[in-house]
């Protein structure tokens, strides 16, 4: 009797394990529609309506097919429900890696869309987020069109994922922003959100701008950094080192390829004095190109020229951020975290930041002139 009972319980345990371990709960993999990218826009004519575009991947023998589905509704959840009526499969967001917002929507308010993203449990928070110019629907349409030209491989030259996740191309023009990072910056005091902007070109995409957000009552774009500023921003905020700098002087014009960046900053505030931002950055690089290769290069003077150039670039960028009163690097958070005056420190910082002093200290170390002197 006992033996039979034990057998029964063992069976229950095994069944239970198989039930819980199977990834696709009661719907098989060929009855699911895997979404690769989500695009969310506001309708052009009626600002109340959300337009949701889903790029679905349909895997077939030796090829992949991409399809776009779109729907409009007053809320995102309702639009997803309407999309369920268009497709015959279960919509599965667990492989969604790219989330796109339309630019016109980002100029108004992103809070509602972001709320849906974080509330639904099947969208992974390590998805990449970006803004589309003109809107995400046209980007995703273009993407499908380009992909279907080249059906053989999953990752073509125009893959948004390869561009955004830094495994393919690595350049300072492209900023990686995870969904959870964007959400954190939305609520954290003294740390403001930013997103890269994807622009559509004839036959490809261009990702080289950065939109900086303000977050008062509404989460919307405050200013847009130019490609050059984006490069510098990625260097000074995330230590990304994939950029070249063109430096012109009376002696010669040359290009520095940066190989390694280390930065740190502190906000010095002593009793009774106003704080100042002390920004230190240490750069190693090599000379990549020179207009004049006849007489050999003197690395010392090049280092001085480079450090002055980089310093002026950084100061210009920091002063621009200060003038717009946004803080994507997180100086405010640093001030809060190093100050024990809990009652007033955040109000103090808001008073200090618009006219804070910025001191930048650049150390450039040029290692080589390349293969020729």
């Amino acid at each position: 009797m006992m033996r039979i009972l034990r057998f029964v319980f063992l069976c229950i345990f095994v069944i239970q394990l198989t039930l819980i371990n199977c990834g696709c709960t009661n719907k098989e993999i060929n009855k699911r529609l895997f979404v690769a990218a989500i695009g969310i826009d506001k309708d052009k004519n009626n600002k109340e309506l959300f337009m949701v575009t889903l790029t679905a991947v349909i895997l077939e023998k030796q090829s992949t097919q991409y399809n776009n589905y779109k729907a409009e509704a007053r809320t995102i959840a309702a639009a997803i429900e309407m999309l369920k009526a268009q497709v015959s499969r279960e919509i599965d967001f667990s492989y969604t890696k790219v989330i796109l917002f339309g630019k016109s929507m980002a100029e108004e308010d992103l809070t509602a869309a972001l709320d849906w993203m974080m509330r639904v449990n099947d969208i992974e928070t390590i998805a990449y987020t970006a803004i589309c110019n003109p809107d995400s629907n046209s980007i995703l349409e273009k993407r499908v069109q380009l992909q279907n030209k080249n059906q053989k491989s999953l990752l073509t030259n125009n893959s948004l994922l390869l561009a955004l996740d830094n495994t393919g191309t690595s350049t300072n023009y492209i900023t990686q922003v995870y969904l959870f990072d964007f959400y954190r910056r939305m609520s954290e005091r003294g740390l403001d959100p930013f997103l890269p902007i994807i622009r559509i070109k004839e036959d490809h995409f261009e990702i080289d701008q950065l939109a900086l957000f303000e977050k008062g009552n509404k989460l919307r774009i405050k200013t847009i950094l130019s490609p050059e500023e984006t490069q510098i921003f990625n260097m000074i905020s995330k230590d990304k080192h994939n950029l070249n700098l063109y430096i012109s002087s009376s002696v010669r014009n040359f290009v520095i390829r940066i190989q390694n960046v280390r930065h740190n900053y502190s906000i010095n505030s002593f009793d009774g004095t106003e704080p100042e931002i002390n920004y230190n950055i240490k750069i190693t690089g090599v000379i990549a190109e020179s207009t004049n290769s006849l007489n050999p290069i003197d690395l010392k003077t090049c280092e001085e020229l480079t450090s002055e150039e980089i310093k002026s670039n950084i100061i210009r960028l920091l002063k621009k951020l200060r003038a717009e009163n946004i803080d994507p690097i997180g100086f405010g958070l640093r001030y809060r975290s190093r100050n024990w005056n809990n009652l007033t420190k955040w109000e103090d910082w808001q008073g200090f930041y618009p006219n804070i002093d910025v001191k930048v200290n650049v150390i450039v170390n040029l290692k080589s002139t390349g293969l020729i002197r």
């Binding site: 819980i20 992974e124 390590i126 809990n342």
Partner: protein
Amino acid sequence: MKRYFFYIVFINSINNIIIFLPNVILRDRYNGSLMAIIFAVPYGTFFLYYFIKSIIKFPNKSYPEILKITMPHWVQVSIMLFICMFWYISGFMMLIALIQMIQRFILPYASEYLLLVLIVFIIIFAAKTEGSTVLYALEIFIIIIALAIGFIFIKSILNSNFSWDSCMEVVTHSFTFPTLSSYAVTTYMFSGYTDMIIFNRYFNNENFQFKHIWLIPVLELALLMFAFFIPIGFFGTQGVSSFTYPWVAATDCIDIKIGLIERTMYIYLPVFFLTAVINIIVHWHVSLELIKGMIQYQFNFTNINKISWYINIMFALLPFIFINKFSNENVVLYIGNDWLIFRVFAEPFVVGFLVLSAYIARKKGIV
């Protein structure tokens, strides 16, 4: 046998950082959570030390047997009636939290009764086995769990998106008197040692020396710090309190770039499941053995096997009756919170009774 004592303590604390702790201490992060953590370590270690010091004097005896030889009959009965259901209620709260987690993340459309059938039967069956079997199973589970937890901790600290400034910002708010609920939940980290009132049956002077006890406060402090700071590092000081499952959300922020699976959440969810299941098994085993011991030693009832089946059936049926009272996440949190606060005041009594028993036994010259 010595290491099993550490397993009993640690499975309880890992289970605590998985289920109740994050919500409470992250909500109170500006109201003295850090101070609660700092206060909890000496408090928990103090009770643990005196509990073990006392119970070590009764080799191979469980609590009902200890009571029988030391206390008058009416004291025995009232103490046993007071404490016997504590472990069951603890396990019950974990079971409800586990069912909700499964419904939220693993099987979104499953009915809670189906899940209860699947889980409760295996737990009841496992809790009814020998205590030594439970301990051996615990060892196997804890190896898997500790590895996964260590992996998640290391992976999150090395993550480049982890914000140390946010953690420091919370540290600047540490000089605040803690709230009662955050104190309750942090001291619960230590109370795994109370399971020894049954498992002491397998410990004696030969296989259990009172050594390396400093490991417990050190490791518990590390676990508490990790459990507190990792969600803050990923979601910032403001955003972190808006999550219903902060730890599940935080593990979803860690990506494994070159791995079989990309989302660390899929490592964390099985850990959640295994920890909760083994901990419910341990707690219900303790409760079952306490009730059995009470009937056997305090009421002198002999046909104990039949009784134990009835208790088992009652254990299995209660969740089915009460599950629809806990359909809302917030209700589970509030009731779990109240239960933990009650436990803060009940635990000194459990320890106190045992210390008293040891004192009486020494006076009587039994040990």
